[in-house]
């Protein structure tokens, strides 16, 4: 029954699925990383995913084109990010509790809005989603071509954002300032830079990126909005950020590994269905996330000022 499992790992269709499944996590983990590198834990992520999924889908359902829908999702994420940032940065409220509050707010607002437009619909209406785009030339490569270069534009966007984020964080003065407010905000303040401005900016941008992960679900994966469709993906991204030691390269790798694991368990589920209850497989991503947190716990290299509010003139 288990023979041929190894062959799965060698098939390009498996890796195509892995990268597809990893895409929303790529957006989520990158968004969380941007927020946390600036010193702000954003537990609003789960709700921002849901709101992004809802906003992107709704815009397209109401007649906008897909890219406008994506923009609507990002703007929605940025708006909730701004709420989280204003409450936790200048007001210094608990990032844990505020984040949970933002998740509850974004989720319930998404559900409420959905019901405003579709009061009694049981079968969620579908939209025409993003289609896979083969990159000319590269998509003809053996193995790598079908796996990586025949994805939807959102996957390419996620990879591009990773490259951009790494470039900005490590190669520009702005990136240096963002990383510094996560490590030693007083030093940044002493340079005459606005600690609060940098942190608020990072949380707003990070939240917009998170929302794109949600939008992927409705605009490139399920093609409709369902209640509870986010299903803990946001929390998994928070765990992945820790696992990645807050480094973009490792974060991308972590999301891909996670996608591969998820794609693998789906195929395993297919083969063992009927013998092992499906729920066992569905539990695995959450248990794997906890295991990942335990694995890196000894050496977790937290940004020093993560969750530490900053007030000018106070040490």
């Amino acid at each position: 029954m288990l023979e041929g499992l190894f062959d799965i790992l060698l098939s390009s269709s498996f890796w195509a699925a892995a990268i597809r499944i990893a895409t929303p996590l790529m957006f989520g983990v990158l968004g969380a990383l941007i927020c946390e590198r600036a010193g702000v834990l954003n537990l609003g992520i789960e709700g921002i995913f849901t709101a992004g999924a809802m906003a992107g889908w709704l815009a397209v359902y109401l007649g906008a084109d897909l890219w406008t829908g994506l923009l609507a999702a990002a703007a929605t994420g940025a708006a909730f990010g701004l709420i989280h940032a204003l409450l936790t940065v200048p007001l210094g409220l608990s990032q844990h509790v505020t984040g949970i509050g933002v998740t509850l707010l974004a989720t319930s607002l998404a559900y409420f809005t959905y019901r405003v437009y579709l009061p009694n619909v049981a079968t969620p209406p579908r939209i025409t989603p993003f289609q896979p785009v083969a990159i000319p030339g590269l998509s003809d490569l053996p193995f790598l071509g079908p796996a990586l270069f025949q994805q939807t534009p959102l996957t390419y966007l996620a990879l591009a954002l990773f490259a951009l984020a790494a470039l900005v964080l490590y190669r520009t003065p702005l990136g240096l300032a963002i990383r510094a407010v996560g490590e030693n905000p007083a030093a940044v303040g002493a340079q005459g830079l606005s600690v609060h401005g940098l942190r608020i900016g990072a949380v707003v941008v990070g939240s917009a990126v998170m929302a794109l992960g949600g939008a992927f679900l409705t605009m490139a994966a399920f093609n409709a909005f369902f209640f509870e469709m986010t299903n803990g993906r946001g929390w998994i991204c928070i765990a992945l950020t820790v696992f990645a030691s807050w480094r973009p390269g490792k974060a991308l790798l972590g999301a891909l590994l996670f996608g591969a694991f998820d794609a693998f368990q789906l195929r395993l589920q297919h083969r063992l269905g009927g013998v092992v209850p499906g729920q066992v497989f569905l539990m695995l991503p959450y248990l794997l996330s906890i295991a990942a947190l335990i694995a890196v716990s000894r050496g977790a290299d937290y940004p020093k000022a993560l969750m530490v509010p900053y007030f000018k003139g106070q040490r």
Partner: protein, 350 residues
């Protein structure tokens, strides 16, 4: 620039007024989405108030809905007081409910005086054990308990679904994934005839009182408060911070487990995978509204329950989605956080 000046002394009237003002603000803010949905705002609020407290039946329904929220609110309050962010109340509630039906639906038979305490103990133990893992991981390895408890919520719910489709499935359930019913002797009796309010509400009140006594009158309570206010100083004073945190985790998980038992053995009679309508997450809001004070958890839970029950009535009458209740509860949490800031600090612009 905004500056915060800590108030040396917080007047009691402000302690009372801040959360009430926050609730009023949350209700006011919820008028925006109501208006956007095209609902008649004043009528909607009137229907909500009437649905929550307009008749004896409405009040009984609100108190019934408040029962699990008191348990989860207490669970969050005691944990947050010790700076243990237990966001896994939803999972612990389901673990408690699962233990309740395992023990109560035929495994053991006996008189109510035996069966009811056994069911409650099993539920509390299940919830407590579920919280033990994240607490140990936090204290021993520094793993953030918020993320582990959140992730465990999903694991537990899937485990419950698995049990309800497998080992615990009621063969007489008409194919639905539900457990066998709790034996009659294991059920918490109703308090008022022809209404759903049950003895679980009294247990919730008793839990609130006991938690208050624990926090205010005992050495353990003093240690819990010390750990929450300044763990380094508590350690310096010779308090076993790890030990106290573990004890808090067990009490908190146990209380959340009782919420599950009370819902199953007081209200539903059997377990389904949709037993809780977010009572675990609403418990966090209840605790924050109550200022983490165990006695204040009761009125806070009744208020939040009233929002849910009232929104259901309003939704049935004028057709606005009852997700407005979840929205008000979320706004309540954010407003009470800001309200607490105004309470603890004078805010000056300079």
């Amino acid at each position: 620039m905004i500056r915060f000046e800590p108030r040396g002394h917080i007047p009691p009237i402000l302690r009372l007024f801040a959360p009430i003002a926050a609730m009023a603000a949350a209700l006011l803010l919820s008028a925006l989405p109501l208006a956007a949905a095209g609902a008649p705002i004043l009528r909607a609020f009137w229907l909500m108030a009437a649905g929550a407290a307009g008749s004896v039946f409405a009040i009984a329904e609100t108190l019934t809905r408040a029962t699990p929220l008191i348990f989860t609110g207490l669970a969050a309050a005691i944990a947050f007081r010790a700076r243990l962010f237990n966001i896994g109340l939803e999972g612990q509630l389901y673990a408690g409910a699962l233990a309740a039906v395992v023990v109560g639906s035929g495994l053991i038979d006996g008189p109510p005086a035996l069966l009811v305490p056994l069911i409650l103990a099993a539920a509390a133990l299940a919830g407590a054990l579920l919280m033990l893992g994240p607490a140990l991981l936090k204290m021993r390895l520094g793993v953030d308990e918020v993320v582990t408890t959140l992730l465990l919520n999903f694991v537990v719910l899937l485990f419950v679904q698995m049990m309800l489709e497998g080992a615990l499935k009621d063969p007489m359930g008409g194919g639905w994934p539900q457990s066998e019913p709790i034996l009659d002797a294991g059920m918490l009796p109703p308090l008022v005839e022809r209404m759903r309010l049950h003895a679980g509400f009294l247990l919730a009140l008793l839990s609130s009182l006991l938690t208050h006594v624990l926090m205010a009158q005992t050495v353990l309570g003093l240690k819990i408060r010390a750990v929450g206010e300044n763990p380094a100083a508590a350690r310096f004073a010779g308090i076993g911070v790890t030990r106290v945190t573990i004890v808090v985790a067990l009490i908190s998980g146990g209380l959340a487990g009782l919420a599950g038992a009370s819902e199953v053995a007081g209200l539903k009679g059997y377990l389904t995978a949709d037993l809780s309508r977010g009572f675990g997450y609403a418990g966090i809001v209840v605790a924050m509204v109550a200022g983490l004070q165990p006695l204040a958890v009761v009125p806070a839970a009744i208020f939040i329950a009233g929002v849910f029950v009232g929104a259901d009535t309003m939704s049935r009458t004028i057709g606005v989605s009852n997700y407005i209740a979840d929205l008000i509860v979320a706004l309540a949490l954010l407003c009470v956080l800001v309200g607490g800031l105004f309470m603890r600090f004078r805010i000056r612009w300079s």
